[in-house]
Symmetry: D2
Subunit: 434 residues, 4 copies
């Protein structure tokens, strides 16, 4: 870690480390939040709600942020008319998640923190699994925070609490917190971009706890986020009596089979990480009826967004052609999306310097492959395309079991560390003259 990394160029303006006294102030406040962070994490753990259904979670977040003096946008206004991935156009529109903003009233950058809030369709393990043993396990049957987003919410609220008085007193610019619904399945990110929430962002920070990074370590040079599209393909055929007049039917089931086989032949490529999977196929109802309807859930992946775009075009063309071949109606709906991403080197370096200077983390990983998909990448890409900076940090934590398993739990020791690091990064940008 050299002095070189101690300053970050944010749209031409150098952002240094926070002043020594500010660092001390942040350290003290973060330490003081420790108990509240644990309490929050456990409260949201029990509230576990699936993506696009985070109603109680959102209500609780909104209440807290409003109390902290943030200007909060939620409900119908939050995502406006942005398409919601995975939600049928005809279905009732979810109204979860929120944006909270604290404007210093003084000119300065817009610093944005993205926090994901949804849980998973997993039944939490019984005791001795700690949340169950200690009485704060999920109260929602079949739904569980098995990825750590409960901790993310706690960190997000902690940062809000920590920075609120500081920004108000000495800030220059704006602090925005985005509590995103439906990260699982990479569904919610797209809507935040489409609703315009990152259009004016100068510095975007995303984060995840755990993810293979050991406790006490923060990964700053994170790369290898995989580009992905999740598609729902629907075919509409025509029913007919399979015995008496099969020729009158238009067989959606056979069309779906041809599509599945055809899609799996598209994945051979020199492009790295290219993958196709038809994960689910459901077609037809009755034994003696030519199947009228079929649905396929398709996942496309690539290491590079360009390769994904090419693959997606081929896949869509395949669906269209096979549907036409079988005289079937068809639709292809994007139900999840994430982009390729690597943290900019300068930002990574600077984050490492901040982590060290604040003592938030003991070790810094400067090169780490993510190897999965995250829809924060859509926000990051949108920010980068307009000249802003974006970064996604992995906050190392001790885990009781793998993410997405019924036994998942994490050591809450990571919470004040995460609050300190992210708050210090934001403070460096917003309280420069402080």
């Amino acid at each position: 870690m050299t002095a070189e990394g101690a300053s970050l160029d944010l749209r031409g303006q150098g952002i240094g480390l926070p002043a020594k006294e500010l660092i001390e102030q942040l350290q003290a406040r973060a330490a003081g939040l420790s108990e509240a962070l644990v309490e929050d994490r456990r409260r949201f753990h029990a509230l576990a709600e699936l993506g696009w259904r985070e109603r109680n979670t959102t209500d609780a977040i909104v209440e807290r942020l409003a109390a902290l003096g943030f200007s909060v946008t939620s409900g119908r206004e939050f995502l406006k008319d942005a398409p919601l991935l995975g939600i049928d156009p005809g279905a009732e529109r979810p109204q979860t998640g929120c944006a909270a903003e604290l404007d210093s009233g003084r000119p300065g950058p817009t610093v944005c923190l993205r926090v994901d809030i949804d849980a998973l369709p997993i039944t939490e393990a019984p005791a001795p699994h700690r949340p169950s043993a200690d009485g704060w396990a999920s109260a929602m049957p079949g739904v569980m925070h098995a990825c750590g987003h409960d901790g993310h919410v706690a960190i997000g609220l902690g940062i809000a609490s920590l920075l609120s008085p500081l920004v108000r007193a000495n800030g220059a610019g704006r602090l925005r917190l985005l509590f995103q619904p439906a990260e699982e399945g990479v569904r919610g990110g797209r809507a935040l971009v489409d609703a315009g929430w990152v259009r004016d962002v100068d510095l975007l920070l995303g984060f995840h706890i755990g993810f293979g990074v050991p406790a006490g370590t923060v990964a700053v040079g994170v790369r290898g986020f995989l580009a992905t599209e999740k598609l729902r393909v629907r075919l509409q055929g025509r029913a007919a009596h399979a015995g008496k007049a099969p020729e009158r039917g238009r067989n959606a089931l056979l069309g779906a089979c041809q599509i599945a086989l055809g899609l799996h032949a598209l994945a051979q490529s020199s492009a790295p990480g290219l993958r196709v999977n038809v994960g689910r196929l459901q077609a037809g109802r009755a034994l003696n009826v030519i199947a009228e309807e079929a649905e396929l859930l398709v996942e496309l992946r690539a290491e590079r967004s360009d390769d994904l775009r090419d693959l997606s075009q081929r896949a869509r063309r395949l669906v269209e052609g096979v549907a036409s071949a079988g005289e079937l109606g068809h639709s292809v709906e994007l139900i999840g999306e994430a982009a390729e991403w690597s943290n900019p080197v300068a930002l990574a370096r600077w984050a490492g310097v901040v982590a060290t200077a604040t003592g938030a983390f003991d070790h810094v990983l400067s090169d780490h492959v993510f190897g999965a998909s995250e829809d924060a990448t859509l926000l990051a890409r949108a920010v980068a395309e307009r000249g802003g900076l974006a970064g996604y940090l992995l906050l190392g934590a001790k885990l009781s079991a793998d993410h997405h398993t019924p036994q998942f739990d994490f050591d809450e020791e990571v919470l004040p560390r995460g609050v300190l690091l992210l708050a210090a990064m934001a403070a460096a940008a917003l309280l420069q003259s402080g």
Copy 2:
């Protein structure tokens, strides 16, 4: 209709028309039952229960038959250990349907009447649909007697009531009534055969009301029952992360697609009426997992049982081969079955003579194509293979709408006609010396 038809050769014994006085007695008793028949039909209409779940229906039937002095076999004893088509071996074993027997104590033929008792997964139409308007519509949400089996039960009980005193007084031989569960989907018939209920039958009578035959007419020369097999194919693969290690998976979804395409290519044949339909396919769960399981529902049909057997062998071999090709476990379960059938000419002719002599029906159809499948054919074939006689009659009725529609209803005028004809045929065999 010539005098030639007035006698039937039943295992070498000639069976003539009932004597004039007996006919008059039967006519009078049948007429006297009219109101009770309507009441029964409506009661069972309201009770509507799906195949293999006809618990209340069975209880009501058993109670009545016991009261009439029949020896009734029901519950676990009825179908013994016979495999039940469509029921998973591991699942709880249904115990519906029953057999009722009245033994005259005197040597003579075994005459058997087969009555099917199940309803359909159809929501009954509201008023002005007559059952709804008059208050005897199905009390079971989503289940409805839309095929007329409620009428069949009424006819069966009517015949029991009509013949009970006569057989007891003057009969020679045995009267057996088989109340079969799960005719829809051609599931229940196989078990009646396997449990031995027709092994010793000399004369088997089956029947259906409506089915395109006009009111006042009985079709006796019925042919063109289609042989069919309904199969449930299951594939067991191996899950794997579709992005990280697809080669570790064994893809049940792709296997199912190959089977579906392969099966549909088997139907080209010079054999009449050969058909293959994969009516339903369900495979996989999650977008990013190689599908571990798949299930196909397959219907095979042919006009001739031999052709069906060949087709079934090819289909099973196809499944086995494709499963092996993809290193998938597989099972093929027979979940429905019916055989080719045509009523014997002599029996048809004799039935026509009886219908005319008793005045049960005004018109007789001597050649009528059934054109669908019925698992009474399995019983009929079993009887014929052991030298007995079997016939299946269509009792013409005025219908309000097609079978298997929410508006289906029939004119109950057919009930006493059916009772009279079938009771007279049974009486001719059992009360010969009467």
Copy 3:
């Protein structure tokens, strides 16, 4: 055979039997031709040439007809610019077959006889196979008259010779002989129609020897000609190195496979005789190259032309859709075609009367199912659509082996019988006032 059949209504004009003296004259002339017919048959047998390549055969026919005073159209003029099925548009245009006309100069009907002249790609059997043993086997390696078209040519020339002086002397109307190339594969018929050769025909006669009809018998009530289309489907993809950049290829081989599987699923139908067969598939060249080209030969069949049209539309749409799905260029070329056909009852009856009256045949079959395809049906349909009459007769013959086998031969005794019957039918129309 009643007197009722002794007259035929040809566009409102009654055509009776030839007068007794004329019949006697025809009988004498036909008998006198017997040896010449055998000689001709054997000469053409040795000349055996494949469809669209019948150059020597055509030359020999043209020479004979010209000598008999017919006006002959051959070479480029014969089929004008009509598309030739099975011939690539870019390839050299075949110029085989011919039309020969004898115009009486007096007003009257146009009577047309259609004669097919091509052989098959079969290697003729060695002795004791009669042609080989007697020295008149095919002189063309790998090509053989194994269907009897050599006999057809002999009969056609015999009729020309027999009728020429009669028509010239007493005829009213025109006699036209069409020597059609490429009947095998049902290729040549379409071009004769397109070139206009049957547009003005009042009575069209086609015929085949053998075909399951016994010697001495003529089948007049022939029905069950199957409608068929033969298609050549070509796919054009893009080559790419299969190891280094498979994603750059567009795989014509996989497209062809999807089409083959898809087509075979189209044949399930309640339409009688519907069939699909992909008889040949050739795709790709090198092991390590994504296949750039593919070709499928497809046969569609149905008993009814309407059903065939529907099937053809679905098949073409399937090809188009699958090609589009794989981003492949495609073409579908009709390379063979025949129509549904049944002889009109009146014509069949009249032909039977003529056969009997002339003694040409001893027995008459009034109902016979053809059960295969013949492109004479295209001519017949074209004639019927314009109000003319058309019929196709099967001239019974003793065969040494099945048609299309290396051992095929027929008893030449059928030749003078055929000449007599067909000449008499033509004479009845053309020499009415004779």
Copy 4:
């Protein structure tokens, strides 16, 4: 290049650089061969023969080697009974290629040079293409040395000529030259191994000219040889008339289509470089016959031999299963094979030292990815498995066009360079005490 590389451990014995005088002697002799090498190269260029048909080429080689005093094994004795990839067991057995051995009579290592001799099915470009312009183009229509094996033969003979007197005079051990047929398609290598020609080899040297390495440079640290299997899959079905009795057929064409689609779905893998390609598919003959036979040519590739083995097992199981599914006979024949390979680091380093010390090449590439398949790898693997050393060098050359194109030619300046380097390496092992 350090002194460290100046000695090679060959089965425990250190092999140093040739002595200075020997190097000078080799340099002089190699220079003296220059013209003869060009002459040889052009002679063999004109002789161009396809793999397994290199009769004239072999005769010329045998003659020369015998004249040089080598003990030559050719004809039936060369490959004994080893299976020959790509040759049908029933077909005539090719007898091309040869082994030549020179035994010093003194104990010492067996040093083996592998030389491939076959040409390609490519029509050589006309002038101004140099071989055509200068009159030594291929004399075999449609066959051309477009890969440089003509140069390989010249180098091999040059080494034989150069080393023959030296080994005879002062050698210790044995020099073996293997002139391998059918390298293209990686067919011949397997047989050399199976016939035992490398069983006792201590040092094996293979080489190729050009291949992207610039003139004057030798690549010694060559890695990334791809493992591959080329398979010929044959299916045997049963013909049947597609219209009259399709159900009697067993459709090899549809089976082939299912296999092609199934194979292409096997390539998704985390294993590097895994590829499947069905490069050619031919099935069926006649339009109206259910296809009786089908053949697929399949290429499997992987960077690692283990992954290839797994893929090959899955592919073979797929073929077997689909064949069984369609009641088809099947065979899978290995028609080409190559292994994963990387030159051992020590050997590469030593080769670089020799190249520099002898001045054979001006530059040395110590890390170069081959990225294609070569069946010399089978020999190399066999040698390595028994504790010997094997290496494959790329002799840089200026090319007129890419390998495997009609315009391919190379600057013969590489020939004496190659002779010098390889002879020096062999001499270092065989003339150690010299």
